[in-house]
Each structure stands twice: as C-alpha cells, then as structure tokens.
C-alpha cells in the first residue's frame, strides 16, 4: 500500500468517525442522565432520514439544511415523547426492564408508522453534490462526505460547548455524575431529564438526516447503525461525550484498516470482537482510563 492509499483510507476513516459520533452521542446523553438504553434511537434516525427526504422533495431545501431543521423538530418530538411516555417510568440508577421494553416497543411503532406512510420502497436523496469529488493532489475526497463530516463535528462541538458553558450543561453533568447529589444541590431533575431526552432525540434526527444524504433508506433504516452506536458508547464509556468521539474514531479506524489485513466478510466480527474485548478488559470504556488517571494524580 502506498502512502497516498494510506492517506485516502485515513481520511475515509475520519469522515466515517464524524458520522458515527453524531449518531451515538444522543444515546449517550440519554443514558447518562436517565439510565435509559434508548432502543428507539434507530427509529428516530429512520424518521430523521425521512424528514430530510420530505424537506428536500417538497420544499427543495438542501438536505444539510434539512438536518439542521431536524434538530429543532426532533427536539420538540423528544420533549413530547418524554411527556407522553418516558416520564411515567420509575426513576432508577440503572437501566430497567420497563424502560428497555418501552423503547423497544416505541422503535417497532415508529418502524410500522414508517411502513404505513412511506411503504417499503427504498428512498434516497440525489443532489448535484452527491457524486462530486474534491481532488487535493493525489487525494480524492467525496465533497458530500466532507460536508456531512463538518456538520457532524459542528453538532458535537456545539454540544460540548452547551455541556460545559451553560447551566443546563452543568445540570446534565451533575446528573450524569450522581443523580441524588445533583438533586440535593438544587438541580431540577425532571426538567433536565426532559430537555436531555429532547436533546438525545434531536441528535438521532440529525444523524438520520445526515445519513440519508449518504445511504438509501427504508423504514428498517437505522438497525445496523444502532448496533455500531452500542459498540461506540461502550468503547467511549457510557456517560462521556468526548469518550463517544474517541470511541467513534477507534471503531471507524478499526473497521477501515482491519479490512486490509483480514477479509471483508469478517468486518462485523472485528467490530463486535472489539466490543467483547472492551467489556471484559475495560468495562467502563476508555473514559474510565482518564478517570483512573485523574484519581491517581
């Protein structure tokens, strides 16, 4: 493999990591604050993809702009779902069977609503940018992937700023660290949980809208991405946003480069092998290494 080939692959892995991060971070914040494993995440990604499709087809707006609109729309959807369903779940420090079943059921409902509205036809978004290439000397990059990457990284950066610089962010971090201590120091747990759930769903919608520009989709869309999101959040630590970014990068690098050493048919085995190894060796994910280091210092 030449150096140029290596660079091309590295860029492909980085672009993939951006997408992986934005599709996983919504699950992480919801789990961190509410200890809910959001199995309906795939369903919201699917509806995000259709949201971008409808905005593009009916309003002729750019799908990337549609992804930004999806943030607001799915935030409100998340708030509504929380008010209708999630707030009735008993609060818990760990994932409960009720929350798992509720989210799984919601995923099935979303999927079937998708079949009712859009049928089982594959849809895709074809814009003049879809097949455009950017040539940087011998390196070739898909301009659409680049735009999607920038949008994804932008979303992650905004989330990081929101979590570190705002009262809401501080409340979220407090609840991630210790729900009861957070309540003692005056954090409004109910309101923070509601906003966090909205935020998590908003990220699922944005991820779905961005993915729709790269892949064709149907109401079953999101399932393979959900499995990867699990790997990423376990890798990054279940409650760490920066850990998710690192987990996404590791998974993208492993998936992209491992294929050069082993046949492509083993690609899923490598991803899930990595998940098993991390669960056994580092159950707290990579973020637990940082925490350990901080404690030692």
């Amino acid at each position: 493999m030449t150096f140029i080939d290596f660079l091309n692959l590295l860029i492909a892995a980085l672009l993939l990591a951006g997408i992986y991060a934005v599709m996983s971070v919504g699950m992480t914040v919801i789990y961190g604050v509410m200890k809910i494993v959001n199995l309906a995440h795939a369903g919201f990604m699917m509806t995000g993809a259709y949201f971008a499709y409808e905005v593009y087809e009916r309003l002729h707006l750019d799908p990337i702009l549609a992804a930004l609109l999806a943030f607001g729309f799915f935030f409100l959807v998340g708030i509504a779902v929380h008010w209708l369903l999630v707030r009735w779940l008993p609060p818990s420090d760990r994932p409960t069977l009720q929350s798992l079943l509720l989210m799984f059921g919601l995923w099935l409902v979303l999927q079937n609503i998708g079949y009712l509205i859009w049928g089982n036809t594959d849809r895709s978004i074809l814009t003049p940018r879809t097949l455009d290439l950017v040539h940087l000397g011998p390196i070739t990059i898909s301009s659409l992937r680049l735009v999607v990457f920038v949008a994804a990284v932008g979303c992650m950066a905004l989330l990081e700023v929101a979590l570190s610089r705002t009262w809401f962010g501080r409340s979220v971090r407090a609840l991630i660290q210790n729900r009861y201590a957070g309540r003692i120091v005056g954090v409004d747990t109910e309101k923070t949980a509601r906003l966090t759930f909205g935020l998590g769903i908003a990220f699922a919608g944005v991820a779905g809208a961005l993915l729709a520009t790269l892949f064709s989709f149907d109401p079953d869309f999101g399932r393979p991405f959900l499995l990867r999101a699990f790997v990423i959040i376990v890798l990054g630590g279940l409650e760490s946003v920066s850990g998710v970014a690192l987990g996404a990068l590791i998974l993208a690098l492993v998936e992209t480069f491992s294929i050069l050493l082993v046949p492509a048919e083993y690609q899923p085995a490598i991803s899930f092998g990595l998940l098993v190894v991390v669960l056994v060796v580092l159950p707290g994910g990579i973020a637990s290494l940082w925490a350990k280091r901080r404690r030692l210092a």
């Binding site: 493999m1 080939d5 091309n8 692959l9 492909a12 892995a13 993939l16 009735w88 779940l89 008993p90 079949y115 089982n120 036809t121 594959d122 895709s124 074809l126 879809t130 097949l131 290439l133 040539h135 070739t140 898909s142 659409l144 992937r145 790269l214 892949f215 064709s216 149907d218 079953d220 393979p224 991405f225 990867r228 998936e255 992209t256 480069f257 491992s258 294929i259 050069l260 046949p263 492509a264 048919e265 690609q267 899923p268």
Partner: protein, 418 residues
C-alpha cells in the same frame, strides 16, 4: 408510587384488549376457512415488509395477475369441474424463520394444494425444507442458489435459472467482447461478492468459465462482504490496490447502491463494471442518477425481450398495478403460477404427487423467459439463459447479449466520466 399505580390501573384494560384481539382474529380465521372451501387453495409466502419487501411485493403482484387472468378465463379444468384459484397470502416480513413457519402452516394446517414462495436465497432456503416433509409442490420464483436444489428434494421447483449460470454468462459475455475486439485479452478481474450462497454461486460460475477458457481473463482479487454493509471504503480500497481492469460484484439492491456510490466517490474506474443481477433498477437510477451509466447486469428477464407474450404481459401488468414493470421480479412469479396451473390441469386432479409429476414433465413453450421455453430440470430448477443488459445515458437500458435478443450495441470499455 404514582407511576406504578398508573401502569397498574391500565394493565387490566390492556390485557382485556389483547384477549379481545386474539379472540377476534381466531373467529376471523374460522370464517375465512369456511369461505375458502371452494376452489384450489394456493399458498403464497412472500415478504411484503422488511428488507426484501419491495421485490417481494412485485412478485406478489405477478402471482396475483396470473391468478386473476386464470380465474377471469373461468378457472382450471380439474377432471369434470372448473375450479378457480384461491390465494392464501402470508407476509414473512423478510424473516427466514417466519418464512419457514408460514410455509409449514400453509402446507399442514391450511391445506393448500401448492405453495409459491421464497423471494431471495435466504428465505427460499428456509422454506425449501417443507415441501418434501408435507409432500406438497413448492415453486420459488425468487430464490436461485443451486444449493437449494442440490438436496434431492422431490417437491421443490424454481423458475429462476441458477446463479452460477449468471456468473458463467457474465464471463461468457465479457469473453464475447474480447472476441469482438472491444476488450483486450488477458484483462484482470477484481470480484467483491456478497457472503451468501448467491455470491458464492456467482463467483463459482465466473471461475468455471475462466477455467474452461484459459487466457481470456485473470482473477487478481476475490473477496466476500456481508449483506447490508454501511461502509465499503476499505473493501473498495483493496479493489483499487488490485489494479484490475474489470470490477465484478454480486450484491443486493441496497448494497449495490451504497457500494456504487462509494465507488464513484473514491474516483474509481474500470473498463467494465457489474453488480451481478443488479443494475437497471429504477431505485438505483433515482439514487445515483448518471452514476449507474454503463453498468451491465445479467438478469432473468427483461420487458424488452422481443416476444409478443412479453409485450402483452408488460401491458397487462401496467393495467393491473398502474405501474410499468420495473424488473424481472413479477415475470418469474407470473410464470410460476402459469406452470403450476398447467401442471394441475394436466394432472386432472388435486392430488399433490400427481401435480408434482406433471411439473417435472412440463414444457411451457409460450413462456416469458429468455428462449420462450420453461422446463424444470431433474433437480427441479429451470435452466434458461440470462440476458445481459447495460445502462446507458438518458435512463436507457439495452439488452446487449445474446445478440439475437439485443436491442442496442454494448458500450465497452466504459468511458471515463468527466
């Protein structure tokens, strides 16, 4: 406490609603059975939801068109009675386990005379174990892997030519381009095949032809990939490194769209490119625009075949569904019903073994398939030739091989895009 009492309050109502739903569906099932006592019951097990929902729906439409036409003509002559065909439809949701279970239900408790089912190799394989167990004829119009027909089953039939023939016809077509001087001899081939029997058969077909015709081409790369992939950049990088002249993949529709999109985005180009049986689908054109130009595919059927019965079928299908016939899916399903109907009439009874025997002897000479003759081989699978089509600019698709069915000249090697 408040939350748990809320759930508890509605638990009884929920349980009552579920019970009511179960009772209602049982009663509906009983009345349905009574209503279906007259006529020849044909089980149709197809995916109309899930991953394979779209081609499964097309196949269902082909089946229903044939049933409608047979019934409009007065039904089938069975002994001294004329009986209509009655379809009992089951949606397997693209789930192999459910597909097998529904086929078993159709054959055991629902008492069908025959089953038509199994779109895709995976679903067809799951269903294929049932026909011999219940001694009920089963015709698959959508599963072509030869492994399904390699077990010596006596009641299993298929209206799709085996995939290894797709591989060998693809190689034969490329060989014909060498003979015509359009491609040079000794070109290198890279293959990326889906990790299913479909992909394995396709690869074997190509390798077999190459072994029988040494010197034409050389395979420099061959690797499998998993169905439903989200990223093929690593695999395509390996293909790029192989520095091949021809890229042959075998993929289902979604993977074809994803892989071709990434292929273009990687700036790759080969003298010839194919995704096996995928290529001319409208969905791919919609997803990739002119990015699918010059891709060639081996398909079981085309509405451009120059036979009058094909033109009639295409017109009937459009009148029946309101849509143009998009691909081969409906045609092979339509032929499965016609073959079964011919066998039932020839048997003169609804005896399943007699119908099976007539299917074995059947030779339908006005068929829609390439060559116009549909005949099941000793293993139950048909063996007609594939037609090779090529996508061309301006949404055009031409049959380019065999010559006697060609509607346009093949463009080879494919031009480098601007």
């Amino acid at each position: 406490m408040k939350n748990s009492s809320f759930l508890g309050k509605y638990a009884h109502a929920l349980a009552a609603a579920l019970l009511l739903a179960v009772v209602t569906s049982l009663l509906a099932g009983c009345s349905k059975k009574a209503a279906e006592s007259e006529g020849i019951k044909i089980g149709v097990v197809m995916p109309t939801t899930g991953r394979e929902g779209k081609p499964g729906t097309y196949q269902k439409e082909g089946i229903e068109l044939a049933i409608r036409q047979i019934n409009d003509a007065g039904g089938l002559q069975v002994g001294n009675r004329k009986l209509p065909l009655k379809e009992i439809f089951y949606d397997d949701g693209s789930d192999s386990a459910k597909s097998a279970q529904l086929t078993e239900r159709a054959m055991s408790s629902d008492g069908v005379t025959a089953v038509i089912g199994g779109y895709s190799t995976a679903l067809g394989e799951a269903e294929s174990v049932m026909p011999d167990r219940y001694q009920t004829p089963w015709i698959t119009p959508g599963a072509a892997a030869s492994s399904i027909f390699a077990h010596g089953y006596q009641y299993a039939f298929g209206t799709l030519t085996p995939i290894n023939l797709l591989g060998s016809t693809t190689a034969e077509f490329l060989g014909s381009l060498v003979d015509q001087g359009k491609l040079k001899k000794g070109l290198k081939i890279a293959m990326a095949l889906e990790n299913t029997d479909h992909g394995v058969d396709y690869g074997n077909g190509i390798e077999r032809w190459l072994n029988q015709h040494p010197g034409y081409f050389k395979v420099v790369f061959s690797e499998k990939f998993d169905l439903g992939g989200t990223d093929f950049s690593g695999l395509l990088q390996k293909v790029k490194q192989a520095k091949a002249d021809i890229f042959l993949s075998d993929a289902h529709l979604q993977d074809y769209i994803t892989m071709q999109r990434q292929y273009i985005q990687s700036g790759m180009h080969h003298q010839m490119i194919s995704y096996g049986a995928r290529g001319p689908e409208a969905d791919a054109r919609k997803a990739l625009g002119d990015g699918v130009d010059y891709i060639f595919a081996g398909i079981w059927w085309s509405d451009k075949l120059p036979y009058p019965q094909v033109q009639k079928f295409a017109a009937d299908y459009q009148a029946f569904t309101g849509r143009k016939v998009d691909s081969w899916y409906a045609a092979t399903a339509y032929e499965a019903v016609r073959a079964l109907a011919a066998a039932i009439q020839a048997a003169g009874s609804l005896d399943k073994t007699a119908i099976r025997d007539q299917l074995r002897k059947l030779e339908m000479k006005d068929s829609l398939v390439p060559g116009q003759v549909l005949k099941f081989g000793p293993n139950g699978q048909v063996g007609y030739a594939f037609v090779m089509v090529q996508n061309k600019p301006d949404n055009k698709v031409d049959i380019v091989y065999p010559k006697d069915a060609a509607t346009g000249e093949v463009i080879a090697p494919t031009p480098v895009s601007k």
